[in-house]
């Protein structure tokens, strides 16, 4: 079951409220519509923040269970609320973990590169980028992931994180500066 997310925020709010009402009225299966609507960007966020598909899946699962348990408390935008739950889950995990190396599962995604050299180069960049991202402060990593990996606008980021566009631009620029310093010796 795949539901198209409406473009208008008002429409989106109304659709979400309708689904939430159905769940609260006892239609448990309607919750899967909410999962389908929002899991992909949330999964990308968790994956970008943690660097581990397994951890991202766990955070997503725990977050949606929390969402279900507190669904009656939703006030305002559901997407912003659920994003905050996932983002906090990622930050909590980062606080508690110390890792030496994590990388994406290479077999998960199809490759668009043709030659083995290009594929090898790309795989190397992928893991180096992950390692470099893990060295960033969580706030810088969060800003970089939201901008580059999730493709959000600064306005959308400011809305979700409750901060200003200027502050987020500064975080993204600082993250880029740090990543470039870490990667350019090898790649530039």
């Amino acid at each position: 079951m795949k539901t198209t997310v409406p473009t208008s925020p008002t429409d989106q709010l109304e659709v979400d409220q309708d689904i939430i009402s159905r769940v609260l009225a006892g239609n448990r299966d309607a919750f899967s519509i909410l999962i389908n609507r929002y899991s992909d960007p949330l999964y990308r966020h968790a994956l970008g923040m943690t660097g581990s598909p397994d951890v991202a899946e766990d955070i997503l699962q725990m977050s949606f269970i929390k969402v279900y348990q507190h669904l009656a408390e939703v006030r305002g935008r559901f997407d912003a609320w659920v994003f905050r739950i996932v983002a906090n889950g990622c930050k909590d995990w980062l606080k508690n973990i110390r890792r030496t190396h994590l990388s994406y599962d290479e077999d998960d995604q199809p490759s668009g590169y043709s030659t083995p050299d290009e594929e090898l180069d790309r795989t190397e960049l992928r893991s180096d980028l992950d390692r470099a991202l893990m060295t960033l402060a969580p706030s810088l990593r969060e800003a970089f992931v939201m901008k580059h990996v999730e493709g959000r606008s600064y306005e959308e980021m400011a809305d979700l994180l409750g901060t200003t566009v200027g502050a987020l631009k500064m975080r993204v620029h600082r993250a880029r500066e740090a990543l470039q310093a870490l990667l350019e010796e090898k790649y530039a």
Partner: protein
């Protein structure tokens, strides 16, 4: 009285400003909030504008900037790939299977919530109220 928040107006320096360097004059003020290191490894404003979608891909002016642009082009390719990642199908099923059996509780204000009281507690509360009423009645009669 309002606090004077403009420090430049203090100390007899009103109206005087440090002359701006040529490099500063060419920069928009808003971009100065981004710390730029002097090591030569800093992300240039042009690259940031490009990556922010505010400007087209910059033309490399030297070998170093060409390498930086190439690096960011490759990082962008990788970011683009990640932008299309989707939640593995089994995760959605796992979430649905892990949901608690109880329906989420509708949050009611306290005055709408029902209370369950056992007969013993109800009798004790009634006795307490009677005693309180008697005590108040007695004190009023005494006055």
């Amino acid at each position: 009285m309002l606090d004077n928040l403009n420090a430049r107006d203090d100390g007899g320096d009103a109206g005087r400003e440090r002359p701006r360097r040529a490099s500063e004059q060419s920069q928009p003020l808003s971009d100065r909030e981004v710390p730029i290191s002097s090591s030569g490894t800093a992300t240039s404003e042009m690259i940031n504008s490009w990556l922010d979608g505010d400007a087209p891909e910059p033309v490399a002016v030297n070998a170093e900037s060409a390498r930086q642009i190439d690096l960011w082009r490759r990082i962008e390719q990788e970011s683009e790939r990640r932008r299309h990642l989707v939640t593995p199908a089994h995760v959605k099923a796992q979430i649905m299977a892990a949901l608690p059996a109880d329906l989420p509780q509708v949050a009611l204000p306290w005055w709408k919530k029902s209370i369950q009281v056992s007969p013993v507690v109800a009798l004790a509360a009634a006795a307490g109220l009677v005693a309180l009423g008697a005590a108040i009645g007695t004190s009023v009669r005494i006055r």
